[in-house]
């Protein structure tokens, strides 16, 4: 389970520079001492005999004598305040991140700090204490340090035994822990304060001047290696890393006290007390940096969100524009469709009526005055009749063409085999032409009339233009994953390649209408239908050999899915 340093996010480690800075701060006092500086206040500067002084300078003397005590108080109280701010911050952190480790550990830190505060108050006689300061201060100091180490081991160790996920962010748990830790702290101090005989903890002449301070040294080392380190690995964060780093000043404090300080308020005594502040500051800094990082991250995310929001708004505005345009187009289409419908109706009625009159009148003239007409006259009358018929057919052709795609039927399942069979039956065939369906035609889902029109036009064309004594017409269908490819082929006269596109145009005939009556509308209708279904049609042909009309239809368009945008005919 070794996590490489590199894998851990930089947001969960205090910078290397800062760690080195802390190490330097811990070592610096030693160096300064070695070069001759003395931070001790165990030898008061002015020594006055009480009797020789006046009452005003008496206070002065007292203050000078108590210099060490004052310094001690300031240093301890600063440490306590740092602990107080740390726990406050820890609860703020908890209120945002709901990480239950932070307040618990914060409370542990605070209890240690509170112990220190009690110790100071007892030393300054602000609390009733029985034993002599000479013993009280060193003893309660050692007690505080041991308590500090232990409470931290318990506080952090709690989360190694029980992972934080199991403990819900329940304030109840935090409250109980606080009460327990606090009670222990108070009890210890109370006992110390009321006991008249406290064990000796200060041994000026030995190497280990304060042997009781060795215990917390070992405890802090143990905590660092076996408690803080695994805790950091399991819950990497600036705070947990800070805890780990705080072991450095804690150990430094112990070294200075255990091996350095021999009397109250001496050089190493004051150095150790000052470094204890650093030891409290490190976890506090961890929380503060975590807070700053979180805030920065939030700012970044916030900014990004804002950016995304603006982008989204743009997109929505664009889409709305497109939709509006679509709606406009659809209603325009509907308008055009209606116009076409009305137009078709007008053509059908208003153009045909005079045509009908011409037809009738010419018929009657021909009938009633037949005797007056010579051969040429008769011929003219016939031509007139023919033209009337032709015009009628052309009008019908245009109407049919305009109806394609406009008249909407309900799509149903069509069995093309039976549909084509019906179409073949309905056509006027002669016996010389053989019409065959080569393979099984598919089932499609679509409107019936367009399909009838396709096959009717193609097959009737093949019949109409057949020039061989034994005509053959074949209908087939090939299938691949996405398309059906149909073919209507014949052995008729064929179509010259240069007309392969032209024949699909409306009113185009290859043979003049005088020689062969044809509207020239059939293929254009077929093309319109097929393209309306998203397909394609082409012709392959060899002159004199025959032609094949090949068209493809997409399966996707002929399945029961509804189209999203239905235009009303």
């Amino acid at each position: 389970m070794k996590l490489l340093r590199a894998q851990v996010d930089s947001g969960s480690r205090i910078s290397g520079h800062l760690v080195w800075g802390i190490v330097i701060i811990c070592v610096l006092p030693l160096i300064l001492t070695l070069i001759g500086l003395d931070f001790g206040q165990d030898k008061p500067k002015a020594m006055y005999s009480l009797s020789k002084t006046s009452s005003s300078s008496m206070t002065d003397v007292m203050f000078h004598t108590l210099a060490g005590s004052f310094t001690h108080t300031i240093l301890e109280w600063t440490a306590f305040c740092t602990a107080a701010f740390t726990v406050l911050f820890a609860f703020i952190h908890f209120s945002i991140k709901r990480d239950v480790t932070t307040p618990i550990i914060g409370v542990a830190l605070f209890c240690a700090g509170a112990m220190d505060a009690f110790h100071t108050l007892a030393a300054d006689r602000l609390i009733q204490a029985v034993a002599d300061n000479k013993d009280l201060i060193p003893f309660t100091w050692a007690l505080c340090r041991i308590f500090n180490a232990l409470i931290m081991i318990i506080g952090v160790g709690l989360f190694l035994i029980k992972p934080k996920q199991r403990i819900k962010g329940d304030l109840r748990f935090i409250l109980i822990t606080t009460l327990v830790f606090g009670s222990i702290a108070y009890t210890l101090i109370h006992i110390s304060a009321v006991s008249s005989n406290l064990p000796r903890t200060q041994f000026s002449n030995s190497v280990i001047t304060r042997p009781y301070d060795v215990i917390p040294l070992i405890l802090f080392l143990f905590a660092g290696l076996f408690i803080y380190l695994p805790f950091y690995r399991r819950n990497p964060s600036l705070f947990s890393h800070a805890l780990l780093v705080s072991v450095i000043p804690e150990i430094a404090v112990q070294f200075y006290m255990a091996f350095g300080s021999s009397t109250l308020f001496d050089n190493f005594f004051n150095i150790a007390h000052a470094l204890k502040i650093i030891a409290y500051l490190v976890p506090f800094s961890g929380l503060a940096l975590d807070y700053i990082n979180t805030y920065k991250e939030e700012q970044r995310v916030s900014g990004k969100l804002l950016g995304l929001n603006t982008e989204l708004e743009h997109e929505i505005a664009e889409r709305t524009k497109v939709e509006e345009k679509q709606t406009q187009l659809v209603s325009k289409l509907e308008g055009t469709n209606k116009e076409l419908k009305d137009f078709a109706y007008i053509i059908s009625h208003d153009l045909k009526a005079p045509l009908r009159a011409i037809g009738s009148l010419s018929h009657w003239i021909g009938e009633d005055y037949a005797s007056c007409f010579d051969e040429e006259g008769q011929n003219h009358m016939n031509l007139l009749k023919g033209r009337v018929d032709r015009m009628n057919n052309l009008i019908e052709g245009v109407l049919k063409y305009s109806r394609v795609g406009r008249i909407r039927e309900k799509p149903i399942e069509l069995n093309l085999n039976s549909l084509v069979a019906d179409v073949i039956d309905s056509l006027d065939q002669d016996e010389t032409i053989e019409i065959q369906v080569r393979n099984k035609l598919p089932l499609v889902f679509g409107e019936m009339t367009p399909f009838i029109q396709i096959f009717q036009n193609l097959i009737s064309n093949a019949i109409k233009y057949m020039d061989k004594p034994k005509g053959k017409i074949n209908i087939s269908c090939d299938e691949d994953e996405d398309f059906w490819t149909f073919a209507v082929s014949d052995n008729g006269p064929g179509i010259d390649k240069k007309y392969h596109d032209k024949i699909f145009q409306i009113f185009q005939t290859l043979i003049p209408r005088d020689d062969f009556e044809s509207t020239g509308v059939g293929l254009s209708i077929v093309k319109k239908i097929i393209e309306g279904l998203g397909g394609t049609i082409r012709v392959e042909s060899q002159l004199t050999e025959g032609s094949a009309f090949i068209f493809t239809l997409a399966k996707a368009n002929l399945s029961p899915k509804l189209l999203k945008l239905e235009v009303n005919p």
Binding site: S348, A353, R356, A357, S360, W364, D389, N392
Partner: protein, 137 residues
Amino acid sequence: MRDNKTILLVEDDQIDIMTVKRALKKIDVTNPIAEAHNGEEALDYLRNNPDNKPGIILLDINMPRMNGIEFLGVIKENKEFKLIPVIMLTTSKEDQDRLSSFNLQVAGYMIKPVDFSQFLEVMKAIDSYWSFSELPS
């Protein structure tokens, strides 16, 4: 057609009227032919000839003032006239017209052919049918 009852022709186009008359003559239909040029005129005729109700009405659809469908609607509401068989004789191939006509109980719906000989066939069919079929009154 039967009993020499009048044939009421409701049609506005002059040539179409001539066509019907000529066709009927050609197939030896001798019943008197009454003309009305739109729905209103037709209604007037019916009201003015209560004792000489037509045996059959040949009705065009597209006429001014009151078109064929409207006229049909009116007479089918009228006790006096609703039993007279009506045959639509129109150019309209519109589904809507066809539907409306049959919904109003027409007896037939014929599209006027452009070609006169075909027109004759249509008239022959009407004549044969109504010669064999009984009239309501």
